[in-house]
Structures are given as structure tokens and as C-alpha cells.
């Protein structure tokens, strides 16, 4: 009996400790809880690394915010934001009209076209005719899914929870092609698996209606103060060269776009 009681008290104490009251300057920045190279990648030591993580550090530094990376499932990241589990999203999320009905976005901080990767030696091209009846893998709830549904309507679209699962199934040969952001496909194609199995067959034609102006920080609509801070910080790191410096470590091209 005593054991049971002490276990109960212990649990209650635990619960109280963990429900610390949020301090005003702490911002929980949500990232998708899976590797999305080269933007957000968990390492073996339990830290998050990547271009977007570095940029987040710079932005929060400029805005004098205490940012805490909070991993969350990609398909629940918007509900997590609106429910207050996180305060901002920096997970390579494109600014789109549909999403803007739910949440607010900062100015864009990078942009990337969509691209198609197939098995090596495949004759697939990024057209609806060529992809018709082919299995096309895509991460769920992304602009690329919307693009595939609109422009590759005859393909058999298969959705995955995470981008690494799409890459993995293309490697395993379960899908004929995948559509994803060009910049995240490159590290996959340079990996051992990617080199062994697959090749890029080209970027898809731009569709501003779907891809939007680029990728921004997602914020709650009523959180205008934080929105202004992020916008000012993005402008500042663009201005003072921090952005270019961080990008140089990861890319040999201009990730910001035009």
C-alpha cells in the first residue's frame, strides 16, 4: 500500500514540476519530428541541426527571443500551433492561401521549386501523360501533394507521413517516382541510397497558386507582435550578411530565390 501511495505522490510531483508556467520571452518553435535534410535534422546526440535550425538561432538572436525547438508530427503541426502547444512553425512550410486562412506567415525566408525524382534509368518525365498510372509518392499535406493532385491527376498518388519515408519507398522500389522540394531531394540523391537507386528528372513547372511566394515562419493570427519581430529579424539577417553566411555552409546557390 505504502508503495502505491508514494508512487502516486511521485507522479503528482512530477506533473507539477513539468507544468511550469510559460515565461513571456520563451518561444516554442515547432519543427517536423523527422529528418528533413538539409533544413532540420536530428543528430545522434539529441540536438537538431541544419540550415533552418541555424537560421532560427540567428533570427531568435536578432529578435531577442528565447527559442526552444519543439518537434511535432508534421501532419499535426498547424493544430499544434493553434492549440498553443507551439508558438511558431519553422518547418519549411510554404506560404499558401489555404494555410493563411488558418495561420499567419512571416515574410518568406527561402524558396524552392518542386522536383521529380525517379528510379535510375526510368523514362518518366515531369508530365501528366508520362506519370499516368505510375505510383507517385509525396509527403502528406505539402504543397507538392497539392501540385501532384492538380497537375498529375492521372498518377496514382501515394501519401506518406514524412519525407524520409517517401525517399525510402522509392529506394525500396515501391513507388515509381516522387515529387518533393528540390532542395531536400538533393541531399537524398547525394546519399549512398540515393546514388544507388535514383535520379532527378527535372523540376516541375512553377504554379504560384500552389507553391505560393516561398517559405515563411508560421504564427498564430493573433500573435502580431511575434510576427513583427520575425519579419524585422528576417530583414536584419538578410541585411547584415548573417543569412548569406549561414547559407554558404549548406548551399552553393542562393536559397532565398528572387
Amino acid at each position: 500500500m505504502r508503495k502505491l501511495t508514494s508512487a502516486l505522490i511521485g507522479a503528482a510531483a512530477c506533473a507539477t514540476l513539468m507544468a511550469g508556467v510559460a515565461s513571456a520571452e520563451t518561444v516554442k518553435v515547432g519543427v517536423a519530428a523527422e529528418p528533413y535534410p538539409p533544413f532540420t535534422v536530428p543528430d545522434a546526440a539529441g540536438n537538431w541541426t541544419g540550415w533552418e535550425v541555424d537560421l532560427m538561432g540567428a533570427l531568435c538572436n536578432k529578435a531577442e527571443l528565447d527559442c526552444v525547438i519543439t518537434p511535432i508530427a508534421w501532419d499535426g503541426i498547424i493544430p499544434a500551433l493553434t492549440a498553443g502547444k507551439i508558438d511558431a512553425i519553422m518547418a519549411s512550410m510554404s506560404i499558401t492561401p489555404e494555410r493563411e486562412e488558418q495561420i499567419a506567415f512571416s515574410d518568406k525566408y527561402y524558396s524552392t521549386p518542386g522536383a521529380i525524382v525517379t528510379e535510375a534509368g526510368s523514362d518518366i518525365t515531369p508530365t501528366n501523360e508520362s506519370l499516368s498510372d505510375k505510383v507517385l509518392g509525396v509527403q502528406v499535406s505539402t504543397t507538392n501533394q497539392a501540385y501532384a493532385e492538380k497537375h498529375f491527376a492521372d498518377a496514382k498518388i501515394k501519401t506518406y507521413q514524412t519525407q524520409d519515408e517517401v525517399n525510402q519507398d522509392l529506394y525500396a522500389g515501391r513507388i515509381d517516382a516522387e515529387i518533393a522540394d528540390l532542395v531536400t531531394l538533393q541531399p537524398f540523391l547525394e546519399s549512398d541510397n540515393g546514388k544507388a537507386c535514383c535520379e532527378m528528372v527535372g523540376t516541375v513547372a512553377q504554379d504560384v497558386e500552389i507553391y505560393g511566394p516561398g517559405i515563411g515562419v508560421g504564427l498564430r493570427k493573433d500573435d502580431t507582435a511575434l510576427l513583427e519581430k520575425f519579419n524585422a529579424a528576417i530583414a536584419a539577417v538578410r541585411e547584415d550578411g548573417t543569412y548569406a553566411e549561414i547559407s554558404k555552409k549548406y548551399f552553393d546557390f542562393d536559397i532565398y530565390g528572387d
Partner: protein
């Protein structure tokens, strides 16, 4: 297969897996403890409460046990936080910061509470009624009867069911991976995603879960033997 990836220190992911295991066990322990608290209150309410409490508890246990844990976890992980914060706001408090760990414990605890209520109710019903009547006849107040007689006397009956619930809880924590809480299963998936060694890492995590179950089994059997001393062995 590249076994060095399982090394405990980076670049090996063994350490990340073990940290995930510790997180899983913490959530399991917290959720289990919360579940038992709910279970004790729930079973007492179901047996001794008024008609309204009995019916409400019946609805709770029936609904929770009829809906897939995955659905409950996804629903409560987001909605639970929002509801709690709305409630705090309505009561005039500032919103609480609910960590993933706490949310996980709350969700697991709420689910386990429904099962625990039923297990404990069955165990209390298995106590010979004369024992409780005797306690009442001695003039013990209800809370003392509960503390001194009912809870200790029901324990041997409840242990097998509660032991089973503990094993279930440790496995249920894996579902938190689906909402993006970094416990063992999600840590494994991250390791697999980065290294592309899916087969090796999922097998390794399987070994860890199996170890938890086997160790728990041994401990629970010792506990069961201790608590059932003096009990007539049930024929199976």
C-alpha cells in the same frame, strides 16, 4: 549492416535510443500512476457513488475502452491542451505550458484510468463482503475502511490485472510517436531516417521493448507471489 551505428556515443545512435527508452518509461510510469489514481477513484465511485456518478463513470470507461488508443491520443494530445488552456483562461489563470511529456502522461493516464477502474472494481467485488461489514461494524468511517480494509484486501485480486495494464502501458507509449513525441519509437524512426538503416534500428528498438517486458514480468511475478501469500491458489 553497420553495427557501429548502434554505439552509445555519437555518431552511434545507441545513446539516442536509450534516452528515448528512458522517456518512454517516464511517460509509462507517470501515465500508469495517474491511471491508478483515476482507477481508485473511479472504482470507488462505481461501487459506492450515487446513481449519477455511477452512470458518468460507466460512460467514461465504456467510451474510452471502445475507441482506438491511437484516435484518443491524437485527439487528446491537441484538443486536451487547448481545452485545458481555455479552462485556465476562463478561470482567470494564465495559460499553462503543457510539455509533450505532460501531455503524454495525461493522455496515457486517462486511457489507462478506464481500464484500471474496471480491474479495481472487479478486485473490490472479490473481497468477501463480511470483511468490509465487520470493519463498518467496528465503527470505522468510510475512508478508513477504504484505506485499512478494502484497498489492502483487494490488492491480491487486482495485481494480475494491474500487472497486465503496466505491460500494456509500456507498449501504448509507442503511439505517442504518431503525434511527434520523441520517445523510443520516434527516436528509432529518426535514427532510421537519418541513417537509412530501418531494419537494424527497428529491430534494436524491438529488443529494448522486449527487455522492458521481460524484466517487468520477472518483477511483477515476484510482486504477485508476495501479495498473494496466504491466498488460496486459484485453479487454472
Amino acid at each position: 549492416m553497420n553495427w557501429e551505428l548502434l554505439a552509445l556515443s555519437p555518431p552511434g545512435w545507441g545513446g539516442a535510443l536509450l534516452r528515448g527508452l528512458v522517456t518512454s518509461l517516464e511517460v509509462a510510469a507517470g501515465g500508469y500512476a495517474l491511471g491508478q489514481m483515476i482507477g481508485i477513484l473511479g472504482s470507488a465511485g462505481k461501487l459506492y457513488g450515487g446513481p449519477v456518478i455511477k452512470d458518468l463513470l460507466e460512460i467514461y470507461t465504456t467510451v474510452v475502452r471502445a475507441i482506438p488508443e491511437l484516435v484518443l491520443i491524437v485527439l487528446l494530445y491537441y484538443a486536451g491542451t487547448a481545452a485545458l488552456n481555455n479552462l485556465m483562461g476562463a478561470l482567470g489563470f494564465s495559460s499553462v505550458d503543457i510539455s509533450g511529456m505532460l501531455a503524454g502522461i495525461l493522455v496515457i493516464g486517462l486511457v489507462q484510468g478506464a481500464y484500471s477502474t474496471e480491474v479495481l472494481r472487479g478486485a473490490i467485488l472479490a473481497i468477501p463482503p463480511g470483511q468490509i461489514e465487520a470493519a463498518r461494524a467496528y465503527g470505522m468511517p468510510p475512508v478508513m475502511v477504504m484505506r485499512r480494509i478494502t484497498l489492502p484486501a483487494m490488492l491480491p485480486h487486482a495485481i494480475p490485472g494491474l500487472a497486465n495494464l503496466w505491460l500494456v502501458t509500456t507498449k501504448d507509449t509507442a503511439l505517442l510517436a504518431v503525434v511527434g513525441f520523441t520517445e523510443l519509437t520516434l527516436a528509432t524512426r529518426q535514427a532510421a531516417g537519418v541513417t537509412h538503416e530501418y531494419f537494424m534500428f527497428f529491430s534494436a528498438a524491438g529488443v529494448l521493448y522486449l527487455a522492458v517486458t521481460l524484466v517487468s514480468n520477472v518483477l511483477l511475478q515476484i510482486l504477485e507471489r508476495r501479495t498473494s501469500r496466504g491466498m488460496v491458489r486459484r485453479r487454472t
